[in-house]
């Protein structure tokens, strides 16, 4: 595990972890929280619409919010990488880290399928929401909330 220690041992990681400056670790955590809200929040709004909330709303225009979701996701991929690097050995020793990553990748996969299968349908607003689409919405909510829960429990369980 030598390379992990060298990840943690570089001067940036050490500064981030040990500096009392609120522009370091605290700011990265804040950015990670905002990214979470803008990735998960609009996803849940789309899921709720698929599940029947606001039936008089056309589905099509919600497509624009995928941009917001991807920005939130990439902001968190970047800030998450920084948080990982400061603490690589204990994160990789924590099974919950892998549970969280699995949920994140499943959630992103489900959002991609929703975009491709549901939103690219030219008759999207001409028919009721298919049962398959509703299951995708349920899967999306379960995976995002699972990722959040695993992430919060990581700081309590398994030493991560």
């Amino acid at each position: 595990m030598g390379w992990l220690q060298s990840l943690e041992g570089n001067s940036f990681s050490i500064w981030l972890k040990e500096s009392p400056s609120i522009w370091g670790y605290a700011t990265i955590l804040f950015i990670h929280t905002v990214g979470l809200s803008f990735a998960v929040g609009p996803s849940v709004a789309i899921d709720l619409r698929l599940l029947g909330v606001g039936r008089r709303l056309p589905m099509g225009p919600f497509d624009a919010f995928f941009k917001v979701i991807w920005i939130g996701f990439w902001v968190n991929a970047a800030s998450g990488t920084v948080l990982f690097v400061t603490d690589a050995t204990s994160k990789l020793a924590n099974p919950l880290f892998f549970v969280k990553m699995t949920f994140v990748f499943l959630a992103v996969g489900v959002m991609i399928v929703i975009r491709r299968r549901v939103f690219r349908d030219p008759d999207l607003d001409g028919q009721p929401v298919a049962a398959f689409s509703k299951w995708l919405a349920v899967a999306s909510i379960v995976c995002w909330f699972g990722a959040i829960t695993a992430g919060r429990f990581m700081s309590y369980v398994g030493g991560g």
């Binding site: 609120i22 803008f38 849940v44 709720l48 225009p61 919010f65 917001v68 959040i148 429990f153």
Partner: protein
Amino acid sequence: MDDIWWFLPLCESLHFIGMAMLVGVVGVLDLRILGMAKRLPLEPLQRLMPWAVLGFVINLGTGFVFIAANPRQYIGPPLSLSFAAKMLFIVFAGLNVILFYMSGLKRMVDRVEAGHDAPLGAKVSAAVSLFLWVGVMYWGRMLQFFGKSF
């Protein structure tokens, strides 16, 4: 207490889920008012709002749990500055909603059909809302770091 070690992390998880619901739904509405996804009519879009309110209620409940579990970390003495700032931002966000209703902006927004622009006053209100909720997240995250009693 060892038997219920999972209770606080569970409340934290719910607090983050409530946050995503609140900021997500309010953010979608604010962004539409600001001009994104203009083909969404604004009256039915507000049907999502009860889910934001549910997120807020979840966070009010779990927030009280955090304070009850460690009152000194928040209300002190000394009072945590981040906590005070967070509460202040939540109050401002509430006042922004009250102003939105009382000023008649809500009625104007309800009439914004698909493809139409929201009035400037509503755009200002939406921008203030986004700023305040991101601010609430900022002060929440700073609890452990700034003006801390943790």
